[in-house]
């Protein structure tokens, strides 16, 4: 069987669920990273297995780094690896994990369940203040902090990236989220 021939379609791609929904770009810009590589492990054995691979684990709600990947610790046994620019490293980890015997945790399928979007632009701070009730000013919320909170009235995970704030949220609400950000951008601009 020829595996892997199928094409992946994410919400903002042609034929995706949010196809036709505008992503704002201006004083506030929203970009879609949902097709970027990431991999999450969750459940008993996740942390130990990753640690055994030499991947340093940050404390809960902090971000670590390993060979170009960002290591998000969302819970004791809930870890998400983001590999925006480290696809190969991540592919290696995934391949090793798939072949490994249990216990090794379980896939959390975050790459399928969560959209990954990035908010940036000159009016970023104002937009985030509208979207999120948390105090995200630099002195209160550092580059390695994670907030599991509500953004744009839906549950989300947010953290800083060099270009702005990254936000992970329920992929089925992608079109809604883009509209919510656009509405806020209209006010912030």
């Amino acid at each position: 069987m020829a595996a892997g021939v199928a094409t992946r379609i994410y919400p903002f791609m042609p034929g995706g669920a949010a196809d036709g929904t505008r992503l704002v770009s201006g004083a506030v810009a929203l970009s879609d990273l949902t097709d970027k590589p990431r991999f999450g492990l969750k459940g008993g054995g996740s942390a130990a297995w990753l640690a055994a691979q030499g991947i340093p684990l940050p404390p809960v709600n902090r971000i670590g780094e390993h060979r170009g990947m960002r290591i998000l610790r969302l819970g004791n046994e809930d870890i998400l690896l983001l590999a925006e620019d480290a696809a190969e490293t991540l592919a290696d980890v995934k391949a090793i994990w798939q072949a490994a015997p249990a216990p090794k945790g379980y896939s959390s399928w975050r790459e399928e369940g969560w959209a990954w979007m990035r908010l940036s632009g000159p009016r970023l701070a104002e937009a985030m203040c509208s979207l999120c009730a948390l105090d995200l000013r630099p002195q209160k919320f550092g580059t390695d902090d994670i907030a599991q909170t509500r953004v744009g009235h839906i549950e989300a995970v947010t953290f800083r990236s060099p270009a702005g704030f990254d936000i992970l949220f329920d992929i089925t609400a992608s079109a809604y989220f883009a509209r919510a950000v656009a509405a806020v951008a209209g006010h912030a601009a």
């Binding site: 069987m1 199928a6 196809d19 399928e112 203040c129 509208s130």
Partner: protein
Amino acid sequence: MNRLPAPFGSRIDRSRRIRFTFEGKPFEGHEGDSIASALAASGQWVLSRSFKYHRPRGILSMTGADANALVQLPFEPNAAAERTPISDGLRVSAQNVNGSLERDRDAIMDMFGRFLPVGFYYRTFMGPRRDSWLKFWEPMIRRKAGLGVVDTKAPARHFDKTHLHCDVLVVGAGPAGLSAAITAAEAGADVVLCEENPEIGGALSYGRYDPAVLSGLSSRLAALPNLKVLTATVCNGWYEDNWLPLIQGNRLHRTRAREVILATGAIEQPAVFRNNDLPGIMLGGAAQRLIRHYGVRPGDSAVVLAAHDDGYRTALDLLDAGLSVVELVDPRPAGEAGPLEAELRDNGIAIRKGATVEAAEGTPGNRHLARVRVGGSWIACDLLAVSIGSAPAWQLPCQAGGKVGYDAATQTMTITLPQGPVHLAGAVAGTDEIKDAIADGQRAATAALSRLGHAVAVERPVTPKTIRPRYVQSIVADPKGRDFVDFDEDLQVKDLQNATKDGYREIELVKRFTTIGMGPSQGRHSALATARIVAEATGRTIGEIGITTARPPVGPETLGVLAGHHEVLERRTALHARHLALNAAMKPVGAWWRPYYYGDASSAEEAVREEILAVREGVGLLDVSTLGKLEIRGPDAGEFLDRLYTMAHASQPVGRVRYCLMLNEMGSVVDDGVAYRMAQDQFYVTATTGAVARVYADMLFWNAEWRLKVDVLNLTGAFSGLNVTGPKARQVLEALECDIDFSRDAFPYLSGRDGTVAGVPVRVMRIGFTGELSYELHCPSSLAPALWDAVMATGKPHGLRPYGLEASRILRLEKGHILIGQDTDAITTPDELGFGWAVSKKKPFFVGKRSIEMRARLGQTRTLVGLQFPAGARNIPGESCLVLRNGAPVGQITSVGYSPSLGHHIALAYVHVDDQAEGSSVTVKCRNGELVEAPVVAHAFFDPTNARQEI
């Protein structure tokens, strides 16, 4: 015509003229003018008619806090003319007038006042018939009630919300607030200073004070980058944990402050005497605001009623503004003359001590003040400035837990706050002099800083130097009335006294019976006087009477700013665009969009029929991605499901799929689905679309208690589901590129397989809601469109067509499958559904087990059965129609529909337990009341032996 030259008029830009209309007449003002100031500058003093008596009313306070100066704007009723800026072309009109402001036909109400004593409406308007109130009196009163008119065609406006965080929030940028904010910011705290006026300074911006004080504070303020000043921003409430709404125009800042300093100042109080409501009678602060902020001369010929230094300052301001001050009346006994008094006397102003204004009279129609009576003689004037004292602005402090008291020695209202993150500063805390207020602001800031962990020396509260008792007006009802205590509600002294005579003696009862303090000013100008009148009338002290509870908001706020802007949440499956491309009629189900049927609305019925036919005779494809999908992993996964669901799962073999039924602790059915055991330590469980959020949360909750070794994952969005169903389903799947053996023997009913179909990794379950051969293919959502395309393309030669929710509902009804929430209610047991087969008798425990055992012993009263109606029946009952037994309701229809496969209507219904047997007949009451008989039949209307799903 009343405009003063600069430097008066700090808010206006004389180079910019703005034209607007009031009551249809053109007016002109300057940029920066409020509606009231622009009208006053043009000599228009009457702004409104009062609530009950329709008396002309005008500027009272210039703070926008009372009904006197509420006007109608095109899209905003009850707008505060004293605060709302004018804009080009703005159409302003008066409210609550019958005719026009100038000629209000309802002004006659003022003559009939004696026929309308307090609470009169409770004692009359009841006859002559029982429905007279509803049919006659109420409509009449409703037309008279209310102030502004809401424009039901108002266009949508944009409002937005944002969040603000700070170490210290200071409310009020008067001397105390400025000094508190500066002190806190200079110590390094993050400070927000919020001021409702367009400029900082408070009394310093309009009162007669040394300008150097304000400019000194302003320059210190400007040097502090960590001090954010929000002017024209109202702090309109205090809520738990220092959560405060700051309203700035159309924006709501939801603000969290670690410490709050309330420097909200004091509210100048009016005097009570006959006709104290005439336009031209205003508070001293209002006259000063008109002069300094707007450069408007408040009259020509003034009398000043002063029982406070501010009154003397006002008189001097009036002189500076070119008014003739006829006399200053000071009700306090003669005593030591201060410098202000000397200055006035130097200007030749007559000062009368120990006297007061006893009454006023107006011009014809009471349109303006004409004269006041002092010591029995009348003095002609067109302005009476009243400055007899003030009350601390208690609203925010009281919301923050402050208690109002009354200090009998100084005759002042006091506010005390418990130790905590809210502090008072300045006039609200009882200071009188500017320098005391500034010192008190510093003191409050250090208290806040100390709580924030700054090393500061906490100072003691400022003790005001003046401890002599404040002046208190003794209030005696004028025999001829019209001595208003509450301008908003047209309440006079005798109204309050009469209420106490009727037994409404507690302050809250007085308020409720008379409506005092319930108008737009919410008691700002009446609470203190009310307490005094009620105390006097009931022989108690003012402290015992107290004031009514201060509730948020502090001042009016629009529903728009509270509502903000809110996008409506919607969720889309990964196949959304596929459905749109196929011309699906999309329908919301909860937040989800689902295809209802495919095709045009004009041929909806036909489309549904064809979709059903395709499933029954060929093959259909349904997007079931909205189904809840949960993955339970870990060594205790089987045990976990055993405790949560009614069937046995610990013993379920890998590769098998089992129905699962969830009960709550009461033993009522709350959800169902299927569980596919993918591995010894892994189950893939479905839940109904509407229930999955709750089921998932409940699973986590139970396991927080049980602490089993399991992990629960909600894969609802991560995975998509495609149901391929119909006699030709297997042919289609086998024609796809795949590594799963779909043959009958290799993949029997109620089993599951993992593999790859069309290059897409899938989890396939052989189950189905339609009663036909069915495979449910679940795959990662990003690959669902690819899988859909492959199935559609491969199915095409087999006549495959996608079907929607409506066809799905009929297909399931033909099989008698229940829908949780539709065919069940909050107390449905498995027995009532005939689901004894789905409940393990062997398991020692599952949620709800004990309760269904108990409920079985208490006796079952109803059962869900199938009903059928003959083809061509004239009257088919609808959903929820009652099933009667001896005329009494015993159940209802839960689902009903026409079965194209059977050619007649079928229904699921609760019937009396004694009628549950097939062949019984029950009585159903149709929508139009007609009773029809229907025979009880088996649940599975179509293919009762379930042969088709097993092929």
